[in-house]
């Protein structure tokens, strides 16, 4: 029997991305972010998540997309990454989507307008296209 995979969908600059739900600890609203000097510019800073200090990565900056001031819909997706946690700042995040395995295709070889290096596949859901993120590469800074 074919198994489904569950993903969290989030948007960054109008594109829809998907993160394997097994990596996601939680999704939180924006908190105060403390800037950290002398690090990769895609690191927005650190937040206090119930007593833990967690770095937050701005996905727009990570994908070299135009930055925008976080607003009401902005979310931080907290990822369990090995023994630590990392936050991903996205424009919005809401849904849990169940995808049949056959609906996930390997990335197209043709060049598109989105950054190819970070994704592991494309998920099709009706006429929606979800970009499956390869976290290993995203966090490799």
């Amino acid at each position: 029997m074919e198994s489904d995979i569950q993903v969290i969908s989030c948007t960054v600059a109008e594109e829809e991305y998907a993160i394997d739900i097994r990596n996601v600890q939680e999704i939180i609203k924006l908190l105060d972010i403390t800037r950290v000097p002398r690090v990769c510019s895609c690191i927005e800073g650190v937040i206090n998540l119930r007593g833990m200090v967690i770095p937050v990565m701005n996905m727009r900056k990570r994908f070299c997309l135009p930055d925008k001031t976080p607003d009401e819909t902005s979310r931080i997706v907290i990822i369990n990454w090995g023994e630590s946690m990392i936050g991903m700042l996205v424009d919005s995040a809401s849904e849990v989507i169940r995808l049949p395995e056959h609906a996930v295709e390997s990335p197209p070889s043709v060049k598109s307008n989105i950054n190819l290096e970070f994704f592991s596949g494309i998920g099709k859901l009706g006429n929606r296209l979800l970009i499956m993120l390869d976290l290993e590469k995203v966090f490799d800074i």
Binding site: T34, P37, M52
Partner: protein, 701 residues
């Protein structure tokens, strides 16, 4: 069955037993075969054997089995404790240690043990002649090893003869009782009957235990204590207790308990002494009668026993159930949660003040008390006695001293002093350096000591104690001390000191020079120390731990190193400062002073901003630039605030906007992703829930 899940537990326990073996062997060597020590070694080896066999580490099991055989012979008096035997046992422990390490690193724990096994089997080395039968327990007949050794059948035979009880004792209990009797205790067998109508039998039993513990020591109960507590008995249970009191006193103490029928009390002291007497008479025929209360006569169990008299029966009560092992990660998590609770409590207090609810303040006060108590308890739980570091030194000192042909007595004081794990993990290496240094360079060879009018045996003292919020660790030897002239010449030779500087230095400053990199005064370099990397490495390590080290040395009398460390590295005192809109923390231990000055006092030397502070030139660092602080529209004061930070001799003035104040902060790591920022040591969470970064002063300099 998959055993891998138990591996961690096995390793942890194996290490504990190896440590115990090391300690007990050292003690054995000192006391030349104290009975209790032998038993302890035997127990550890035995447990290790069982554990490793279960886990399938056959080599460990084999080797411990071989050790057990030798230990058994030692216990039975077939062979006598000698340096050779102890050395052999030490070698076995080392071998076991390396096997356990191998397992830790993912290996199979198999190392060739054939050679050791062979040596264990071949028995006593030439100079350890087995004790001739005639001299066994010479002239006393006290239950010495040969009597203690008597198998269970022996004892039960004795018991049957006396027709008193049918209680079976294991080796351990027998030993306990015999030792107690040797020390003048009496041993009683009690049958306690509880009234049939009693509804809470276990409560009565508990009262019996309570009463008896006041006057003696309960050795054994039938059924077991646990069964009794769970009321798994009919109306009576049996007890074996040792006490100095008479049967009458015991009876009277129990009479006051209601619903208890008259207890049967019988002294069974005789069973053990008679039995021992009979044994020794069998062995030696016409030996003088028993003198049970003079253990000094016993030439084999002598020292070990005398050193720890009445303590034995008390200490050996099993205490295993009173502690639990906890993963440190869980403790850290608990600490985090408590920290969060404290922050939330702060917020609640703010809300309380704003809403002016009448009942709230009182509740908040309660909560305040509970949370601070909680915080203290969690801090305490994280504390570990420094013994966990100290415990490995006796063995190290012994080995080093032997290698160097020196006689050294290591005195350890204050090993119960508690320190936070974070410090404990880091302090081991520096201490090893200092001890090695003292053994190698400090304490002289026996001949030289005698020539200097000292005892042959050198004395090395390692002590720990609390001083306020710090812990002080001292390593002191009574060796030859440091020679200031030698150090001065060496420093001049190596160019660490200019001749005119050398003239001005006083004794202490010269002594301090040995902490400089590249200076070693040892004439011969050994593999133990003296390569000139030791002491400055120690100093650096201590300083990264926010501590300090000082030396005190008198030529001919000895050297003393004094290390001062904070109790914990997780919580530090820090100065909070503001740069534009951002708040940063600077660890107080690095701060020399704070000062403020007017802009015109700042001078420039070769593009470097400096100020004159009490005649000294102090370079300035603009933190705004280093930390890339974005300019904000914050009102600037005319004055410049400067935080003077130091590391060793280096001093730098940090320019900040506003000094907020001093505060205790909890250091939190920033995680792997941000691990190596050169100027940031970590983060901390402020009272308002915001994260503030901690400036790494050492990295900045």
């Amino acid at each position: 069955m998959d055993m891998s899940q138990y591996r961690g537990m096995f390793l942890e326990e194996a290490r504990e037993h190896l440590q115990k073996l090391n300690e007990a062997l050292l003690e054995l060597e000192d006391s030349h075969g104290g009975r209790t020590t032998l038993d302890e070694i035997f127990r550890s080896a035995h447990t290790l054997k069982g554990m490793s066999a279960t886990m399938g580490y056959n080599q460990i099991a084999e080797l411990t089995h071989g050790m057990e055989d030798v230990l058994q012979k030692l216990r039975s008096g077939d062979i006598e404790v000698s340096t050779d035997i102890v050395d052999l046992l030490f070698k076995c422990v080392d071998s076991l240690d390396s096997m356990v390490n191998d397992i830790t690193e993912g290996g199979s724990g198999s190392k060739p043990v054939g050679d050791l096994l062979q040596r264990l089997k071949s028995g006593p080395a030439p100079d350890t002649v087995p004790l001739p039968a005639g001299t066994a327990g010479a002239g006393d007949g006290v239950p010495g090893p040969e009597a203690n050794e008597s198998r269970k059948d022996h004892l039960s035979e004795g018991l049957e003869q006396n027709q008193i009880i049918s209680v079976e004792f294991n080796e351990y209990e027998k030993n306990l009782i015999k030792q107690a009797i040797d020390q003048g205790f009496q041993c009683y067998h009690l049958v306690v009957n509880i009234d049939k109508r009693c509804v809470m039998k276990s409560a009565r039993a508990f009262m019996v235990f309570k009463k008896l513990e006041e006057i003696g020591e309960i050795i054994k109960t039938i059924p077991s204590v646990q069964d009794i507590e769970e009321e798994k008995f009919e109306t009576s249970f049996e007890l074996i207790i040792i006490s100095v009191e008479s049967a009458e006193v015991i009876r009277n103490s129990l009479i006051s308990i209601t619903e208890l029928l008259e207890p049967h009390i019988k002294s069974i002291t005789g069973v053990f002494t008679n039995h021992a007497k009979r044994d020794s008479q069998e062995d030696e025929g016409t030996k003088p009668p028993v003198q049970p209360k003079t253990p000094e006569n016993d030439d084999k169990t002598g020292n070990g026993k005398r050193e720890e008299p009445a303590a034995c029966p008390v200490q050996s009560r099993p205490k295993a159930s009173q502690t639990v092992r906890v993963d440190t990660a869980r403790l850290d998590n608990l600490m985090n949660l408590v920290g969060e609770l404290v922050i939330n409590k702060g917020r609640l207090e703010q809300i309380g003040r704003a809403s002016e609810l009448p009942d709230l303040p009182e509740t908040l006060e309660q909560m305040d008390r509970v949370t601070s108590e909680l915080q203290n308890v969690v801090m305490k739980v994280r504390m570990v006695p420094i013994d966990s570091v100290f415990c490995r030194f006796p063995r190290m000192v012994r080995d080093l001293a032997r290698d160097l042909g020196k006689e050294i007595e290591l005195v350890i004081e204050g090993k119960e002093t508690e320190l936070d794990r974070t410090v404990i993990d880091e302090i081991g290496d520096p201490l090893v350096h200092l001890l090695r240094n003292s053994i190698d360079h400090g304490i002289e060879e026996p001949a030289a000591r005698v020539a200097a009018g000292k005892s042959e045996q050198g004395r090395l003292t390692l002590s720990a104690r609390h001083e306020g919020n710090n812990v002080v660790i001292e390593v002191a030897d009574d060796g030859k001390g440091l020679n200031p002239e030698e150090i001065k010449n060496k420093a001049l030779e190596k160019g660490l000191l200019l001749p005119d500087e050398a003239e001005e230095l006083d004794h202490d400053s010269i002594i301090r020079l040995i902490m400089q990199p590249g200076l070693s005064t040892a004439e011969k370099v050994t593999d133990i120390s003296g390569r000139g990397v030791g002491l400055d490495a120690v100093k650096n390590k201590i300083e990264t731990l926010s501590g300090s080290i000082s030396i005190n040395s008198t030529p001919g009398e000895g050297t003393k190193f004094k290390i001062q460390l904070p109790l914990t590295l997780a919580i530090i005192q820090a100065l909070l400062v503001k740069l534009e809109a951002e708040t940063y923390a600077i660890p107080l231990s690095f701060i020399a002073e704070t000062t403020s000055l007017m802009p015109e006092q700042v001078n420039k030397i070769q593009d470097q901003e400096v100020i004159l502070l009490r005649g000294d030139v102090l370079p300035l660092v603009r933190l705004h630039e280093i930390l890339q602080v974005p300019p904000a529209d914050v009102h600037r004061e005319e004055e410049i605030n400067v935080v003077v930070v130091k590391k060793g001799e280096k001093r730098v003035g940090l320019i900040v906007d506003i000094l907020i104040g001093q505060q205790e902060i909890v250091i939190k790591p920033l995680g792997k992703l941000l691990g190596n920022i050169p100027v940031i040591a970590g983060g901390t969470i402020l009272g308002n829930g915001q994260v503030s970064l901690i400036i790494d002063v050492a990295g900045l300099l």
